[in-house]
Point group: C2
Chain length 319, copies 2
């Protein structure tokens, strides 16, 4: 189905809908979505109760499922993995956006790779609307236009700035874009899905090299979700961080609470060439009042504490 | 079944075992435990894949289920709610024990209410074994002896100090114990299950009054799990904190990552009569090397960051 036809779509009849992640529970006649992965997080599952199935398709790149849940609002699921729910998405969006933004001395040009739900765009535009004198232009490169179109329809609070005049949108493979562009960016945010799917190449050393090459000078900062978290596969994270450290001089690992993500958290890798940038203690701080106005999750205290890891994980990853 | 008969018990045949929290999945012939609560956390579920059912009983007080899971080790479940898994229990145990212990100027006498898995006892005894010159005596008051006996058998790493000479164990209702005792304690740790079950009275103002009455002077510190977390029911938490503040002069709310708990986190309420005690920045700090030796989760940085809440929750709970 083409995006232009999205206006006419009807909710799906769940009683006849078949999807491997959706289960019917006889005892209370309820339908549940269960996130499971025998490879990435074996033996554990997270479930959301479904009010209705809003949309399902297999796009050129992935399985896209959009649910209206009973308690988490609308929920975007790619290849069986929750990308965002309306209830808690702000945590992820605010942290992945503001960790680099508050650490960069002069962040003018921002690139977002992925991010089709436009939640990161919303967080960036917030600073433009607030006249923070930070961002001049935003480029977003998303491979799957369907994700953007569906977010416009089903995640309106996330996607509300999808056509903001400061946003240049390219529907293209992020890896290819970085390879071909002559532009340089102050911050590059990789807001991708997990490696199983079209985002696979975003977790390899060649990608970190490409990112570094597209940064505007030493001060440039990149951030990416780490796919795994410290409780699941610390060895993988160590390896990913080492790949990143082979390219960048200054690398940190941060995490934030995300109830609808595996283990209830999101992991992030942040990096820059400039050893003197303190990624942990942001150079740009708002007053408490401004923080309350601008953010729901982020604050300069949250920024700092997001780098504090449990002793065993810190010893393994950072020492 | 009496505790003395625990030596002879056999694993349960899961194919004939019936429990409302256990579901059979035909597609891969697997059995899963699902934690659900239509009252406490409607519309969301956490699942663990089961290797075998080690034990099930309805004790005088509650439904007790012990599972061997495929990826989280052995797991204790009371009334359908996960109390601990061998994989991540250390986070909870270390934080609930060390937040008060590292903030109290001279913690000699410790009382634990609940805590039948003996994980908190293990964390306390660690300091005795390390000659930290902190703890003189520990009293634990657990209502359900069956939980202790089962933990000795199925959670040996948690319960290993159940018969340590510094531990006085009372099998009794915690509320009743506090009402009747003449003893005073420097720290009282309430390591209870959620309000649905025998722990109901631990979340009421009368309980906070009893706790305060049993503290040894102004410096005494109490800590308790909050049952709800900030993502689920912030209003309930605010109300609980206000109850606590009506009794104590100095109250804080902390949280820690706990992948096997609802929303992937645990909330804690900590309180003292002494306004000058800084609950957030501990007075007692170990060197990094000692932290790595003593703790898997806790550190003085973790201590401080556990009080950092997302902006919206901080504004609502603390301002």
């Amino acid at each position: 189905m083409s995006p232009s036809k999205l206006d006419n779509i009807q909710p799906i009849d769940i009683s006849t809908f078949q999807h491997e992640s959706i289960v019917y529970h006889k005892q209370d006649s309820s339908y549940w979505f269960y996130e499971k992965s025998s490879e990435s997080f074996p033996g554990q599952a997270f479930g959301l109760k479904i009010e209705s199935v809003l949309y399902h398709t297999k796009s050129e790149f992935q399985d896209i499922l959009i649910l209206k849940t009973t308690n988490f609002g609308n929920c975007l699921i790619l290849n069986g993995i929750i990308q965002c729910t309306e209830r808690d998405e702000f945590a992820y969006q605010e942290v992945i956006t503001n960790l680099p933004l508050m650490s960069h001395p002069n962040p003018k040009k921002i690139l977002v790779i992925g991010g089709g739900d436009c939640g990161v765009i919303r967080e960036l535009i917030k600073h433009i609307k607030n006249n923070d004198n930070l961002i001049d232009s935003i480029t977003m490169v998303e491979i799957d236009n369907m994700v953007i179109e569906l977010s416009k329809k089903f995640l309106p609070q996330m996607s509300k700035y999808h056509n903001h005049p400061k946003l240049n949108l390219a529907i293209q493979d992020g890896f290819k874009f970085l390879n071909e562009t002559d532009e340089k960016f102050d911050i590059i945010i990789t807001d991708s899905s997990d490696p199983e799917g079209p985002a696979q190449e975003f977790f390899e050393i060649d990608y970190f090299k490409l990112l570094q090459n597209c940064l505007n000078g030493e001060d440039g900062i990149v951030i990416a979700q780490s796919s795994e978290n410290i409780w699941l596969n610390l060895e993988y994270l160590k390896n990913l961080k080492e790949k990143c450290e082979s390219v960048f001089n200054n690398v940190g690992y941060a995490q934030c609470y995300m109830p609808s993500y595996t283990s209830g958290q999101l992991g992030l890798l942040i990096a820059t060439m400039n050893k003197d940038i303190n990624l942990i203690d942001p150079i740009r701080k708002f007053s408490k009042d401004e923080e309350s106005k601008l953010f729901k999750y982020y604050s300069s205290d949250v920024h700092k504490s997001s780098f504090v890891l449990p002793t065993w994980a810190n010893d393994y990853l950072n020492e």
